[in-house]
Each structure stands twice: as structure tokens, then as C-alpha cells.
Amino acid sequence: MSKARVPALGAEGWFTEEGGAALVGSRCATCGTVSFPKSTFACPNPRCAGTELIDARLSATGTVWSYTDARYQPPPPFVPTADPYVPFALAAVELDGDGLVVLGQIVDGVTVADLHVGRRVELVVDTLFADDDTEHTIWKWRPIPDDR
């Protein structure tokens, strides 16, 4: 029996796999400001009192604003996926057209040596960690081949 795939605790509704992987933020119906994670009860624009916030699919591609990695296992509530621990990379990515930078892990097998500021990446939904019967999913960034 295959494991159930569910968004990791805390990230429910933050991304979707329907129609391709994408982050789901919010868009203010009054001024159009987008935010991620979603604004749920107030628009972050200080000159807007909008309270109607609609789910908005964000761009699934962008350019690396900066990047790093985690050479040592982060403390809990981080859940390691391998023993011994295997380092992973992180990137802050400027989304195409949405005017914001979003942090995410980089997919397994890609290291900082494969990255540079300006590198083109795309969003994927991947496993954050798994337990006996569940795969807990999260968004990650993957370099776009042939688009340096």
C-alpha cells in the first residue's frame, strides 16, 4: 500500500499540485497585493483596509536571490530524513512577476556548487519527511536544466 501524501503540518493550503506545482498565496481583492504565506484576515498594504483575500496561484518559476545550505542537522522541530544526516541546500527565490522572494529547500542532489545568484529555478512538490504511513510534502526549488 502506498503512503498517503499530505502537506506537512503547518503548510496545509500553502501549495498545490493541481494543474502543476505552485505556491498558493493570497491576493487582496481591494488593492491586488499578493502575499505568501497567505494573509488570512488583513491586507499587508498599510494603505489598504481590504479584508477580502482570495487564494492566488503564484509563479512557479523564478531566479535565485541567494542560497546556502545546512551542513549540520538543524534542531527540532526539523525532522531528519536520513541517518546519518545528509546536508541540504536552501534558496531564496525571486518569483517571476509576483514581486516577492520565497525561501525553500533545494531538491536532493543539488548542492551550493550548482547554484549562483540569478540561477533559474522551478517549484516542485516533494517529500519533506515520511513516517510509517504518511509522506509529509513541501515545496522545493529545482534548477531548470539548460536555463542557467
Binding site: A8, L9, G10, A11, C31, G32, T33, V34, S35, F36, P37, P44, N45, P46, R47, W65, S66, Y67, T68, D69, A70, R71, Y72, P74, P75, P76, P77, F78, V79, F88, L90, A92, G97, D98, G99, L100, V101, V102, L103, G104, Q105, V112, H116, V117, G118, L128, I138
Partner: protein, 396 residues
Amino acid sequence: MTDDVVVAGAGMTAWGKWGRNFVEYGVEAAREALADAGVEWTDVQYVAGGETVRNGYAGYVAGSSISQALGWNGAQVSTSYGACASGAQAIDVARNRILAGRCDVALVVGADTTPKGFLAPNAGDRPDDPDWLRFRLLGATNPAYFALMARRRIDVHGAAPEDFAQVKVKNSKHGMANPRARYRKEVTVAEVLDSPVVADPLHLLDICATSDGGAAVVLTSAHKARELGIASPVRVRAVSTVTPSFPNTVIEMPNFATDSSGVVAPPPRTFMDSIAHVAYEEAGIGPEDLSVAEVYDLATALELDWYEHLGLCAVGEAEKLLRNGDTAIGGRIPVNPSGGLACFGEAVPAQAIAQVCEVVWQLRGEAGDRQVEGAKVGITANKGLFGHGSSVLLST
């Protein structure tokens, strides 16, 4: 014109790792500051504490915990929290209390005792807490956020890991002359580069430790200082506790994303640039007037960012300033003559107050072998997580 608020006394424990109750460090620092000012504890009318989140209720009410330990004196009290900026908030509260004529003598105190290793969130599943979420969903530790900024310096401004190491070398030299510093040992570029990488491009020796320590200042009105016989006290010229302006387009710890600039254009000044700017504006003092600066070098590369945020040089020129020796003692504008966090490690609620103590000693000419010759104007700068700017501008 309002009467100046002055620093009548400064006190600070040595920084280290002893695991004692944070209140002990607070009491030690407070007693030193009171003795330095020539003020009796029973004459203090107001106590402003910096909160520590790691010590249960006693930490949440640090102003009162330290007051009780000194012996209840009937003073009025507050406790402020702004993460690393907590101390600046406490200074701001006490200063405004004096400016408003509500008291003459205030004690500002912060102290902490810290755990080993990475700073981690409190235990238990807390998916509503962005600090819990960034560890759970991203594994993004504090050094990871520092490293994102460091990487920008390399890829965008042409910095080298050697430049970051050079900040540590400079600060370790400064700290050798500071009896309160925890690490008092010369460090070489090779030692930094040979230390393990924690979060690329930052090595273990690029990143500050967490420490135990306490710091305190006694603030009084200028009038009260004259009564106390203090001839030329250091004056508090401005305090900045500024928050970001929307949209904040630089990723901030512990956030997952920046604000969007899709609808509203970014403000003319970034959040980091606004921290000192607010202090400069209040005081009518500019970066060209500074003799000394104490900045928050959580990581070596972040000290370089601060050179630019304080206006000591143009964007992208911080490495040049460092390489010229301008920010070393003896240079044009020494930064972190105390040795900075590189030599102290971070004791969160005490740190912004400790920065002020160092500038006070520099402006009084009492900094011994780390004295910046003829220092007249000094600034402190730091930033607390969740959008807390912190800067104090002082002058003779």
C-alpha cells in the same frame, strides 16, 4: 528645549557560559552601573528590563525579577521584548520617561543565560508560530539566514570568504584588549577558513556563539547628573526602534518570504538602512560625524552589511573599507572596538545595552588599550527578529 538624557552609569558582567540564573548577571551589572553613577538603588525611580524568553516567567518579567533580587524599592517598572532589540526598547522607554519629566533616575538592565548550540524554538508542535514553522518546514536555522546575506556579498559585490574572515581577525584583535570579552585570543584568516562550514559560505568562526551575560545603564536627566557631580556625562542623542516600511523586500528571519512589491513600490530606504537613519534624523547627526560604531556582527559578513546600512560607505564598498583598515582601531571609523559579538557571543536581552556601555566607555576615554582616540560621537546598531530595528546615538 527638553533637558538631555544622559548615561550616568554603565555596568556589565564578563560574558561567558556558566549556566547561572540570569537574574544574578542582571544584579551584578546593575550594581556596577549604580556604583558608576554614584546612585543608590533605593533612589532609582524607574526600572526598564529587557525580557529573556528562555527563563520562564522570571524571564518574561525580567525588570521585576531583577528589581526583586536587588530588594523591592517601590520603583515603577516595565519589561520590553524585541528579540535582539529588547535592550534598545528598554532604553527608549526609560529615556522617554525622563524626557516626559516623569522621573530623574532610571535603571535599564538586561541579562541572559543561553543554551548550547543553535538557538531553537520552544518545544511542542506550534504550527501557528513562524519561528517553529521555519525550523520544521525549511530547516532554516539562524546561520542559514545570515548565510543568505553573506552569499549576496560574494555573488553581487565580489566579496571573498577571506574578507569575512578578516572581520573576525579584526574583532578578535579588538577583543583581546577587553577584559569582559568571552573570547580573548588572536584568530587568523586561515583558522577561520579551516573551521567547518556551517551554512555555506559561513564557517563556524564566522558565526557568533550564544553567551551568558548582563549589562545595565543608569539614565538620568542632565540636571540630575549635575546634582550627582558628573561633570560631562555621555548624552543619549537618539534612539531608534523602527519597524520596516511596506513592502520590505529583503528576507527577514524568521520569515518564509518578503513582502510583494507588485502593487506598492519599495520604500526609498530598506529596513536595514532605516534603522540608523531614524537615529541620525532625530539627532541631526550624520555618519560623517561618527567616531565609533558598535554593530551586531551575528556573522562576520553582516558586519560588512552594517557599514553600508550606517552610511559609512556606499553599497558594495564595505570590503574596501575593511581592507583599508578604516574600521579597525586606529582607522577612520573603528567598528566594534569591544570585539563585537565575535568576542562576546550573544546574550540577547543584554546585547543592545552592552553595545551602549561600550560606546559610553569609548566616549569617556575609559576603554583602555582598545580606546578609539578622541571619540566624540558613537552609534550602536542591531536588529531583532520580527522587524525590530535598534540604534542608539550617543555623544560627549
